[in-house]
């Protein structure tokens, strides 16, 4: 989903207006920003953290799907007679016998609109056509292999060339004008220096370590779904509609997630299949995807094809910018990859247009992948900027600095906090950019040629509505909970830090409960908005609980504060004390004395949209990323050797988890730049490299020296602490910085990702002689 869409999505969840927060950010204690290790780390390293497929219940059954072996057509016949007779087989589900499953129309977002087994039509290779449930996983797998399906195969299209003829701009199905100012075409035509190039990014598949899984339990009345979900609340909202149940009859649990990268934002069809099977059998059902299914059934980053036109004066003033892109989507769903996310505001220009069009392919439905839209979009925009700098004979950092703007020229509003310039300057300094010589192949280190490239990164900043609850308990601990989840990013830890900051209670006395739709509604972990969304509610909940505590303190006989003015009391270092007076009392002593188990507070906060101040500003994060590659022309080998990332992402709550987000994104960017591409066999539509040996991602040996630096400047508009988000932006500049570096080393401009040995073999560089 595009960032803007994501904002719409979180807005649609917006609850009542904020109650009592938005107070000026007090200067935070030492715990904010500290490089604390994850509080859930020990659970994970000792295997105690339960992921979806780790849940086991008495009478468990196992579900294995049968997948289509054509990319388009009709199911003629499903013969499950042999499978049904196999040992342990309990059920073979398909479109002929599945209970009613519904499309969702009342809020929330599903991945595939079409419920599983809705009819006999096949839209993509690997689509589930049946599912076998058996007593053991092995039995289900063997029986699934024995189900015979006859198809009427029809014409399909998985072409990587997105040149399909489309209706004109503005017509249904034609390109949409997403952004426009000035007269970009005339300005481009008249420009002294022009870049007009097309860039493509391939299909990329989400490859979290933990594959999707659902364990569905039906108790005769209610479903409990153990999921690997980036959004338990949305999952509940959607699945209640799909299953035709009131919301309270569906609980979604997702305590630990082995990452998602966007692929687990919205429910996928296996969840409904598992739930339907559990209901039919009245037994728990476990449905785990394998790696092959990850490539067909649970989304991907869609292929993009982007034409960039930049026009500049001879001095380097950007006079025209046109970004016309297409992306593929599935037959059933319109997924627009918002490649123009950063184009309208990243650089100053008077004349600009962004258009977007969809092209249909027989593939599974695409879904957001880390930095959806912005990441492939910035690959194109930042590559074009590099090409422009070369044409202008300008340094690529200097060119970008000269085009910086503190006003969002699209929205005609100032940025709440934009420090792209500082990112470029600090990054250049740390990287040693001033030593760069611009000539191709001019920098060496021993036997290899060095290439240095740079690109800017950007990602929107927003927050939605949320709720949280906090209990100050008479055993001296604090419990904080919300229906959000930690997808591995550190949400458990930063929530504990904020509670510790506000109460003075040490981290190890704080219990964080996440990952159930029964908890107060919390945010989806997507769009880099979860932290900024939840913290105002956590603070509000702490305040509400503290208020109860103070009431207890001032109304309990024997309390040293009995009869005092509650508004004069405060909670400091875990103790209640009176302003200006000494003798603080640990909060649990107050509760114990009053025989009160806990002081509970519920916190709420509205989204950015509910904050009138926010309307006057454009809120985004920025960054600058510098990449060094080593190029060995004798054997056509490129390796990334050094990366510096400087991120302007608002206040950083935890240096360690934040650095981990950026460094991890850099590694992912190396995959995007040099390795990753899902390949559909044009003869049958099968994503043919659907495994870890043939779809390659970087290994530790591919991981260079990564320097991560945060400007750590709070965003005054983003509420408590001034947090933005840092989950996605770290990926945004890596691929274009890599291709810029590859050009600098080899003179070869790769506009179609990933950069492959095939692209570089043409190069016979100066050192080929020495081999």
């Amino acid at each position: 989903m595009m960032f803007r869409e994501f904002v719409e999505f979180i807005k649609s969840d917006e609850g009542p207006a904020p109650s009592a927060q938005q107070r000026e950010a007090a200067s935070p204690s030492k715990v904010i920003g500290a490089a604390l290790p994850r509080i859930d780390g020990p659970l994970k390293t000792t295997g105690k953290a339960l992921y979806a497929s780790d849940y086991n219940f008495p009478n468990m059954t196992y579900c294995v799907p049968v997948r289509a072996t054509i990319a388009s057509g009709k199911i003629l016949r499903i013969d499950s007679s042999a499978a049904a007779k196999m040992p342990g087989v309990l059920l073979v589900l398909h479109h002929g016998n599945i209970m009613p499953l519904y499309r969702n129309a009342s809020g929330g977002r599903n991945s595939e609109n079409r419920p599983p087994f809705e009819d006999d039509t096949i839209y993509y290779w690997g689509q589930y056509v049946a599912a076998v449930v058996a007593e053991t996983f092995e039995q289900a797998q063997a029986a699934a292999a024995a189900v015979r399906v006859d198809y009427d195969s029809q014409r399909f299209n998985v072409s990587t060339v997105l040149e399909d003829s489309l209706p004109a701009e503005g017509q249904p199905g034609g390109p949409r004008l997403l952004s426009h100012r000035g007269d970009p075409d005339a300005a481009f035509a008249a420009a002294a220096v022009k870049v007009d190039e097309t860039y493509t990014t391939p299909v990329e598949t989400h490859n979290p370590m933990e594959m999707h899984a659902t364990v569905a339990v039906w108790d005769g009345e209610k479903y409990t779904l153990y999921e690997s979900s980036q959004g338990v609340m949305n999952h509940q909202t959607v699945m209640a509609q799909v299953l035709g149940e009131p919301k309270e009859n569906v609980e979604v649990i997702s305590r630990f997630i082995g990452s998602g990268f966007g692929g687990k934002l919205f429910p996928w069809t296996h969840s409904a299949i598992a739930a339907a099977a559990a209901r039919k059998l009245n037994r728990p059902v476990k449905f785990t995807l394998n790696r092959k299914m990850m490539f067909a059934n649970v989304g991907h980053r869609p292929r993009t094809q982007q034409r960039l036109r930049l026009g500049a004066t001879a001095e380097g003033k950007l006079v025209a910018l046109r970004h016309d892109y297409r992306n593929h989507t599935s037959l059933g769903d319109d997924i627009r990859e918002n490649c123009g996310e950063a184009t309208p505001f990243l650089y100053s220009t008077a004349n600009l247009a962004v258009t977007s069009a969809l092209v249909r392919r027989n593939v599974g439905t695409p879904t957001p992948m880390r930095g959806p839209g912005a990441v492939p979009g910035l690959f194109a925009l930042e590559s074009a900027m590099d090409e422009l700098a070369i044409k202008l004979k300008k340094d690529p950092v200097a060119l970008r600095l000269s085009l910086d703007t503190l006003e969002d020229e699209e929205k005609k509003k100032p940025f709440s906090s934009r420090h792209l310039k500082e990112c470029l300057q600090v990054g250049a300094e740390k990287f040693g950019w001033s030593r760069r010589t611009p000539e191709v192949g001019s920098m060496r280190k021993g036997d290899v040629i060095l290439g240095w490239g740079v690109a800017c990164a950007s990602w929107g900043a927003s927050r939605g509505a949320s709720e949280a609850s906090v209990s100050l308990r008479s055993d001296g601990t604090v419990r904080v909970s919300s229906g959000t989840q930690d997808i591995g990013t550190g949400t458990y830890t930063v929530m504990a830090q904020v509670v510790s900051d506000k109460t003075g209670v040490p981290i190890d006395k704080i219990e964080v409960i996440l990952g159930s739709s029964n908890l107060p509604p919390g945010p989806t972990s997507g769009g880099s908005t979860a932290t900024a969304t939840i913290m105002p509610s956590v603070v509000d909940a702490v305040n509400a609980a503290t208020k109860i505590l103070m009431t207890v303190a001032t109304t309990t006989k024997g309390s040293p504060f009995n009869g005092k003015d509650a508004s004069k009391l405060m909670l400091m270092d875990g103790c209640v004390c009176e302003k200006g007076a000494s003798s603080p009392v640990p909060f649990q002593e107050i509760l114990k004395a009053a025989n009160v188990g806990s002081a509970d507070g519920r916190g709420r906060s509205g989204g950015l949209g509910a904050d009138p101040k926010a309307r006057d500003y454009s809120t985004h994060s920025f960054g600058a990323q510098f990449v060094e590659i080593e190029w060995d022309p004798g054997i056509a080998r490129v390796r990334v050797s050094r990366v510096v990332s400087v991120i302007d992402g608002g206040r950083i709550l935890n240096k360690r988890t934040a650095t981990n987000q950026i460094a991890g994104a850099v590694v992912m960017g190396i995959g995007m730049g040099l390795l990753e591409e899902t390949i559909y066999d044009p003869r049958n539509g099968h994503p043919i490299n659907d495994n870890y040996a043939d779809y390659i991602v970087p290994t530790i040996a591919d991981t260079p020296d990564i320097d991560v630096h945060f400007l750590d400047i709070p965003d005054p508009i983003m509420g408590e602490y001034g947090i933005r988000g840092i989950g996605e932006i770290g990926l945004a500049g890596i691929a274009p910085a890599i291709t810029a570096a590859v050009y600098h080393a080899t003179g070869i401009r790769v506009r179609d990702l990933p950069v492959r040995i095939e692209d570089l073999l043409a190069h016979t560089g100066p050192s080929t002689k020495r081999a």
Binding site: A142, R637, L674, L675, D702
Partner: protein
């Protein structure tokens, strides 16, 4: 995966007896030996291998690594890749084998993988590994999906119109350059097979990969006394680790001053079997160490290359690999 019987013989004789009941020792074998299991169990899970009986050979006395009277080295078939790679004699006299092994797979896999199992590892052709697609190697006569399909990783040398699968092993490339021999015990007794006679070209029978017959147990691999003092294994691939070779080269040579007195050249990732290049050796033999000669050797080695739709780049890559390996091998002391 299908149900199978499992037995654990303790003598080589028992293993031979059990194995001899198989209809074939090639694809579709109904009895399989299992050593480290890192190839076989994978393929069983994918339903590519469907043995009715598994014979676990891990209890057989075949794990030793010992020097021979003539100064060679006998490596037991069950010696783990990790142990072979770190063996002092291998490091001293057959460094190319250590380099090749350490460039392959991952530490965990190398701890399991055995010398004999590695000799028999199967191709990584995606169509071979997915029973949905036609594949002559998996199902004789069904057709070859890789020709005209996704074949970027596959072979350019020794291919046929029925199969272009590459042999993915690193170990076997080094063993080929070292002129290893393979000791086999079977129902008809013991025999020794030079590695270059061990593998078959696909021709019209790609499901037959080696000369092994039912019941044949590989007991060891013997390296002749070291002939070259210089050697090198170079593996080129898209990422830095944990990936099969796009192209690799093993060089073993002895110099007299600048003159190449003895040379063996083998290539990986490009052939349907571990690829000994007599053509390259012929160009190099007796010549002096020179870039120009290396280039001519590389040209000669790839002269007969027949690329498929996606792997044409391997011709140039393999040449560069060979040249660089020769440069490094002749430069090392």
């Amino acid at each position: 995966m299908e149900t199978f019987q499992f037995s654990r013989p303790t003598t080589i004789g028992q293993a031979i007896q059990l194995g001899a009941k198989a209809s074939t020792a090639q694809q579709v074998a109904d009895v399989r030996f299992v050593a480290g299991g890192t190839t076989l169990v994978d393929l069983m899970k994918l339903n590519v291998e469907r043995p009715r009986q598994l014979v676990d050979i891990n209890l057989l006395p075949m794990e030793k690594i010992e020097t021979t009277a003539e100064g060679g080295l006998v490596i037991g078939a069950l010696a783990r890749n990790a142990d072979v790679a770190r063996h002092p004699v291998v490091l001293r006299d057959y460094a190319v084998l250590s380099e090749a092994l350490l460039s392959g797979a991952s530490p965990q896999l190398r701890n399991m993988a055995t010398t004999g199992g590695n000799l028999l590892q199967r191709t990584r052709c995606v169509y071979f590994r997915d029973t949905v697609h036609a594949c002559n190697k998996r199902e004789p006569g069904s057709g070859c999906s890789a020709i005209g399909g996704h074949n970027r990783m596959l072979a350019i040398l020794g291919t046929s119109k029925d199969c272009i699968a590459s042999n993915p092993s690193d170990q076997n490339v080094a063993l080929t350059a070292l002129e290893a021999t393979i000791q086999v015990e079977g129902p008809r007794g013991k025999r020794t097979i030079p590695i270059n006679d061990f593998y078959l070209l696909p021709g019209s029978t790609p499901h037959r990969e080696t000369v092994l017959e039912p019941g044949d147990v590989i007991v060891s691999v013997t390296l002749p006394p070291p002939r070259g003092v210089k050697s090198h294994y170079l593996k080129l691939r898209d990422r830095a680790a944990y990936e099969f070779a796009l192209a690799s080269a093993a060089i073993v040579l002895r110099l007299n001053g600048k003159k190449i007195e003895h040379v063996r050249v083998a290539m990986g990732g490009v052939g349907t079997r571990p690829w000994r290049s007599l053509e390259a050796e012929h160009v190099l033999q007796g010549r002096t160490v020179e870039m120009e000669t290396f280039r001519r050797a590389a040209e000669a080695a790839l002269k007969d290359a027949r690329p498929a739709s996606e792997n044409g780049f391997k011709v140039e890559l393999a040449k560069r690999c060979l040249v660089r390996a020769l440069v490094t091998a002749t430069a090392t002391a």
